[in-house]
């Protein structure tokens, strides 16, 4: 039997002793394997990054001129005593689960993942493994998502109704991932799609990679607002209520996130509408995925870890919690987890 486990959990993040590398570390390290470009996974300050070919352009856009070794999905790379490969996680364009094999034992770090295909990002791939390190952002039975087609119909109906009243629709979404997914769900026959600069900057990166995004117009100071009446504006939620948003008059406001499943959160957002649309696995998705990997051991991280771990234990799994830097207080992380 091997002495070391394939992965260990350190105060810098998940570490592989056989390959001497970290996965999504939160303190600067020499070699970091990155699941995806969101800032809580892809941090600044590492010496050498490794990521999928699809994730690298956005990482360069966000981190600047850093050293990134890229790999296609599914290709094996030997790092020290570990064989490493990246597999689609279905979270955002370029996102990956990372598979690490050492001496015939396979561990998979899920990163953030979404089993349901969304038509934009690379669809989630199930990777059989001995140990699965799973996020559980929405690891409570109250979180269950309707199929994407149902939510996209709701959003388009909302947009169309606002457009019919001659109002703008201001839809809040994070600049990387959710914004582009929403755009790809919109029905361009309803009206023009406008974007905030932060969103459009990411669009340019993803378009250059060949991701199919609809035509959009960047909102600039000299935009002819009247000519775009009835349009939908995709912007980071932080832009709501700012002078920037004023030019759209009494726009209808909406917000798309898994947290919108909860009425209390929906009402606190002070948006007119909350659409339940998440880039993470829901309760069913988490449970189904964990079961399907055939894993013997589960580690849970990011989210309602305490509760979800207790649930897995009660279901007969050999399960444990991975502490992250932001102390895994499951019930409390909801307001922090803005990157959904």
């Amino acid at each position: 039997m091997r002495a070391d486990p394939v992965l260990t959990f350190t105060d810098r993040g998940i570490y592989c002793p056989a390959g001497d590398f970290y996965i999504d570390p939160w303190r600067p390290v020499d070699r970091a394997l990155i699941t995806h470009g969101h800032s809580d996974h892809s941090r600044w300050g590492h010496q050498h990054y490794m990521a999928t070919e699809a994730a690298a352009p956005v990482m360069h856009h966000r981190l600047g001129d850093v050293s990134i070794q890229t790999t296609p999905y599914g290709a094996k790379t030997q790092i020290g005593g570990a064989s490493v490969s990246f597999h689609p996680a279905g979270h955002i364009p370029g996102s990956a689960q990372i598979r690490i094999e050492v001496g015939g034992e396979v561990w998979v770090v899920s990163g953030d993942y979404k089993p349901e295909p969304d038509g934009l990002c690379e669809s989630f791939e199930l990777v059989p493994c001995h140990a699965f390190i799973s996020e559980c952002t929405f690891g409570l039975p109250a979180f269950k998502w309707a199929p994407q087609s149902v939510v996209s119909e709701e959003i388009n109906a909302w947009w169309a109704a606002n457009a019919a009243e001659g109002r703008f629709s201001l839809l809040g979404a994070y600049s990387l991932g959710k914004a582009q997914r929403l755009m790809s769900l919109l029905d361009p026959s309803i009206g023009p799609i406008l974007t905030h600069g932060a969103v459009e900057a990411t669009n340019e990166v993803l378009r250059a990679q060949g991701y199919p995004l609809p035509a959009t117009t960047r909102v600039t100071g000299d935009l002819d607002v009247k000519a775009h009446t009835g349009g939908i504006v995709i912007a980071p939620p932080s832009a709501f209520g700012t002078p920037w948003a004023k030019k759209f008059g009494r726009a209808a406001t909406g917000f798309a996130s898994g947290w919108m499943r909860l009425r209390g959160v929906r009402r606190r957002r002070a948006a007119d509408r909350g659409f339940v649309l998440s880039d993470h696995a829901d309760w069913t998705g988490l449970n189904d995925t964990i079961r399907a990997t055939g894993c013997e051991k589960v580690f849970v991280t990011h989210g309602y870890t305490e509760i979800f771990n207790q649930w897995l234990l009660s279901q007969g799994y050999d399960s444990a919690i991975v502490a992250t830097e932001y102390t895994g207080e499951g019930a409390d992380t909801d307001d922090v987890a803005e990157v959904d």
Partner: protein
């Protein structure tokens, strides 16, 4: 039920008053009469009593969802609402139904007398054919907790639009002692029903708080000042040889206050008085806590009747000799009130609330400072030529409360809120110093902005010392200025005091915990 769920969603999804009224008007124009009647009942607080205990509901929901009860209990505080938690965890409906709101209300009412197996079967059956919003509403109605962010005023406005009736007239129609089981939509809205009219109160006129100096109100001679009492607002109706007492919350509370039974012997039929119900002893009000003992009791034991007798301090006359005189100016209503009550004996338990004389605003400002000595919580200012309006209206009536008593206290426990505030820490326990120890003396929930609540929530998460279920003990570090309206002895509390209306006035970033007030400082504020 779908139409009502759509209405609920429309109301829940907007903060615009116009959009809310439009959605309600649309419902009142399209729904069937029995559904409209239930809608009016629910939106005016006439909810049926809880038909099933929440303990059973939790068990049944967890069972149907295939999750252990502990997981349900862990999920509930995060969702923040029991009905919603149940609605969210249940598997999707397997069939559909076209039962209407009134069908479901009938079903819910039939469950109260049913045995538990019948209840369970009916509830599981309902869950299985309703969508998430419908289930949420069904659970709310089942547990007697239905509330929605629409005031009765907006509902009344929509109803008056949909039926082409004048708004104040509609408000009056909706008052009184009716339920959907005792009336129909037609009888309530369109027909005259003398028996119901007999007990029907007038909508209360509510005052706004005065924010500016009184000088802004113009000439003092245009105004009448009265003490503002700290009791419960009441409307005493004498019609058809009997009496009715209504609370401001439109609850008929006649039986709780038998003191007023004798008022029919001393006041003429066709009289309606507006005033304050106060616990009263030896010509002065008792603390609100004494009155509180009476409020919750449907029947009153003799001893309590003796310890905390109540009176109505009447300050307005709405109906005189059977005539609605709300349109007459206050000066005239007041004159008639004084004549009516001039020779009334103490047994009638109705006392006129005095006018506070003043010549100029400065005098009144000085008088206001003495409110606590007068056992009042401030002054009321009423324009002498004002009619008695319905609902909360700006302009003619103002409440001018004394500034609250204040104390600087240290936050020692925090608990998350419910509903909109679930997952934010909003319920805090505060302590003052006593011999080097922090003694808890009050809880407070309100007074901070959402931004401040978010900030303190983030802090609580990082500074939790211990958890006791949902309650967290935190590092005693933050000082808040606590405002309150009164302070009383309370042997039940560790600190020995109980506060009236405590709330957070501000977060004292400038003060370290060591500079918070002491228990002696607090006790020095007692009357």
């Amino acid at each position: 039920m779908q139409a009502f769920a759509d209405l609920f969603n429309a109301l829940d999804q907007t903060t615009s008053t116009n959009a809310k009224v439009a959605a309600l008007t649309d419902y009142f124009e399209t729904a069937a009469d029995p559904d409209k009647l239930w809608c009016i009942a629910l939106f005016s607080g006439r909810r049926p009593k809880r038909a099933v205990t929440t303990t059973r509901l939790r068990e049944w929901a967890a069972e149907r969802a295939g999750i252990p009860l502990w997981l349900f209990e862990e999920t509930y505080p995060i969702v923040g609402d029991l009905s919603e938690t149940i609605a969210l965890i249940l598997p999707d409906a397997t069939r559909q139904t076209n039962r209407t709101l009134s069908d479901w209300m009938g079903e819910i009412l039939s469950l109260t007398p049913a045995d538990e197996d019948t209840r369970k079967e009916a509830v599981l059956d309902a869950w299985d054919c309703l969508n998430t919003t419908e289930r949420f509403l069904f659970n709310k109605l089942l547990t007697g907790g239905f509330r929605v962010g629409v005031s009765q005023k907006l509902m009344t406005r929509a109803l008056s639009r949909a039926t082409n009736t004048e708004e104040s007239q509609m408000a009056h129609r909706l008052m009184g002692n009716w339920t959907p089981e005792t009336t129909t939509f037609h009888d309530l809205i369109h027909a005259q029903d003398t028996e119901a009219d007999k007990s029907r109160p007038y909508p209360f006129y509510l005052a706004y708080g005065l924010e500016d100096a009184p000088e802004a109100l113009g000439a003092p001679s245009d105004w009448q000042a009265e003490w503002k009492w700290d009791g419960i607002r009441g409307q005493l109706i004498l019609r058809g040889g009997t009496h009715f007492l209504w609370s401001r919350g439109e609850e008929l509370i006649t039986d709780r206050f038998p003191e007023f039974a004798r008022s029919v012997d001393f006041l003429p039929d066709g009289t309606v008085l507006d005033g304050e119900v106060l616990a009263w002893h030896e010509h002065k009000p008792l603390p609100f806590s004494e009155l509180q003992k009476r409020i919750g009791r449907k029947t009153v034991p003799k001893k309590l009747l003796k310890d905390a007798p109540v009176v109505l301090r009447a300050y307005d006359l709405l109906e005189h000799a059977g005539e609605d005189i709300r349109d007459k100016p206050l000066a005239e209503r007041r004159a008639r009130l004084e004549t009516l009550l001039a020779d009334i004996p103490p047994e009638a338990a109705v006392i006129p609330s005095p006018v506070v004389p003043f010549n100029n605003w400065q005098t009144l400002t000085d008088i206001r400072e003495t409110s606590r000595d007068a056992h009042a919580e401030g002054l009321m200012l009423k324009r002498l030529d004002s009619p008695y309006l319905a609902g909360r209206k700006k302009g003619d009536w103002w409440k001018w409360k004394v500034d609250p008593l204040t104390i600087d206290a240290v936050m020692i426990y925090a608990q998350s809120g419910h509903g909109r505030r679930a997952n934010l820490f909003t319920d805090f326990t505060f302590a003052v110093w006593n011999n080097g120890e922090l003694v808890p003396f009050t809880k407070a929930y309100s007074g901070l902005t959402d931004a401040e609540f978010r900030k303190i929530t983030a802090w609580v998460r990082k500074n939790t010392l211990q958890r006791f279920g949902p309650v967290r003990q935190v590092t005693p570090e933050h000082v808040f200025e606590i405002g309150f309206e009164g302070i009383m002895d309370s042997p039940r509390h560790k600190s020995g005091v109980a506060l009236r209306f405590p709330r957070m006035l501000r977060w004292r970033h400038d003060k370290p915990a060591s500079e918070a007030n002491t228990l002696d400082d607090l006790k020095a504020l007692m009357p």
